[in-house]
Point group: C2
Chain length 399, copies 2
Amino acid sequence: MKAAIMGYGTIGSGVVEVLETNRDMIAKRAGEAIEVKSVLDLREFEGDPIHDKIVHDYQVIAEDKEIQIVVETMGGVEPAFTFVKAMLEAGKHVVTSNKALVADKGAELIALAKQHNVNFLFEASVGGGIPIIRNLSHCLTADVVEEITGILNGTTNYMMTKMTLEGSEFDDVLKDAQEKGYAEKDPTADVEGHDACRKIAILTSLVCGQQVDFEDIHTEGITKISATDIKYAGAMGRAIKLLATSRKSGDTYSAMVAPCLLAPEHPLYSVNDVFNAVFVHGNVLGDAMFYGSGAGKLPTASAVVADMVECAQHSSEHIPLEWKANKLTLADYRETDNRFFVRTTAEETAIKEIFGEVTFVRAEGVTGEMGFLTEAMTEGAYEEKVARLGAVIQMIRVK
Amino acid sequence: MKAAIMGYGTIGSGVVEVLETNRDMIAKRAGEAIEVKSVLDLREFEGDPIHDKIVHDYQVIAEDKEIQIVVETMGGVEPAFTFVKAMLEAGKHVVTSNKALVADKGAELIALAKQHNVNFLFEASVGGGIPIIRNLSHCLTADVVEEITGILNGTTNYMMTKMTLEGSEFDDVLKDAQEKGYAEKDPTADVEGHDACRKIAILTSLVCGQQVDFEDIHTEGITKISATDIKYAGAMGRAIKLLATSRKSGDTYSAMVAPCLLAPEHPLYSVNDVFNAVFVHGNVLGDAMFYGSGAGKLPTASAVVADMVECAQHSSEHIPLEWKANKLTLADYRETDNRFFVRTTAEETAIKEIFGEVTFVRAEGVTGEMGFLTEAMTEGAYEEKVARLGAVIQMIRVK
């Protein structure tokens, strides 16, 4: 079976490496050998064994009748969308690692794949090597998934882990992450939560079977988390993690991306460094968690290649995937219940008067302020109370 | 689509409950409603809504042309094996939660299912609700799985967790587990590691594609773990867990079931109470972990019903599953490398003379003995050294 790769960057070259490393075993599982025939890239890669396979025009691949599977690892919505559409319309299976494309055009591309009796698979778009898409769509089929909570961004998890272990400030840790290649020069997509937001939008779409627009998800990043917050977290025996959450709420879901304080009992508490993990609660399964490398060349390529194997196994069959284009209106996040940890310069009496029963928290060496933990209340109720209290330095949600 | 259940105990009745609870969603995913037509049991269940469906002769189900899926939740090898064989030969899909049957007859029943173009699925036989079978056979298809380490027995994990938290002795914790219904009156299968042994045999068979006989797996239970061992573990900042391990070793695998000391960095360290988890290392994926309820009525039934949905989705197609009848000769466990924690009354000088570089460990309040941690060595080398040292109170492997 011949394949093509569009975009010979980190993931694209990882796919070539995985196909070579595990060639025989992949052939056995796929039913036949998978061979990369063409690679679409603007560059030439002179001297690289891939050089002979480089093409610069996606139409060459679309028109190549021999190529049955096309891998898209370019990233971004355009031109990836135009290229992927052309491949599906040409009757080729498409596998992608591109979360931006999937979050934006998933429903449309699945419908197009169905129309042409091929598959559009995107395991690598969420959680890197963790097979979370396949678990949600093909494994947990007896359950109504009532909650998904994920650590879906390796960069920010690395940063939060380092801040926790070393007590360092956000800016220093960001610099370290950039030096190590974990964070990009422009780290906005990671640290502002946009990346995690697209991923939880994809997972929520799969679980509800409708289009969830990532723009509708209330998203807060980790840029405001400080070493002082970490001290308070330590005093409570908790860890701060950037969580992407989706919860069933009546006939719809409520979704949010925000830093949260996790207790040691929570399965996500000990997920550190660049690892990702997805906690799932099913109405009959109960709690489950899927953990692994959320990024990186080979783990992500492993997920891409597993999708290629699935395409080979179902080369003349569309595997149904429930994700329709009709949009799901998410519940207003202001109606979601949460507990809140608040740092304030307000007086104890004022706090008690407005918030009622709270737990005060003091962190060693922190003066001129204090922290308190509220009982559960809606986001809306919290906003109203905090406007009355004023003098708030920081708020972090509590899981 | 009509189904039958053989054995209306905890899991069997759980399957009925899950099918009812999530009826509409299951029908949507399966492509049609799944209805239980017959239930095989020796009892009558007068007054129970299931009473009308009770049959006492498995031939009634085998001969019922309307029934396409049969669930086996009786447990034990016989008569389950005879019944399941009859159902497959009658062209019915079979789904089971019975680890004893699968470990013993898995290869044979898969071959029989293939011959009759039906499926024999057994997700619930390992890890309860955790979809570990599906992950190994259908998700991680791009990887060579180099290690599987599982906490596969909820009873013993509950007991080890309680011993760790409360410092109590094995016998007291066993009594508590029996009172809570987590341990059976005869707890041998759990506490001696036989249950975990069958499960790691199944997982290893799936990974290597050959028959792994559970009798070949070196198995040690938790009956010799004492409150003093827990004190030493605490002194080392580690936890003792009953681990079932399978590691690629050249062209074969080495497998073992034994209590092990885990460091806090290990993903299985914080898997507590009755939860199960399976750690997997793939050659390109790296580390991954799957966590969830390893037992219990509804989680296990959730896995059974997910298998039923898969049968409905592939009602006229055998899904290939690589598990041939030819036996895999496991590597001799004496050739496996491990680190060992040893409690002894021997002198420091004797220990150093025989074991070379070791780390001594002392636990608060424990006198007249001491502990030490060895460097990595083969099991065979350890046995030879310890025979020379003598005076050994306890040995626990270190992960």
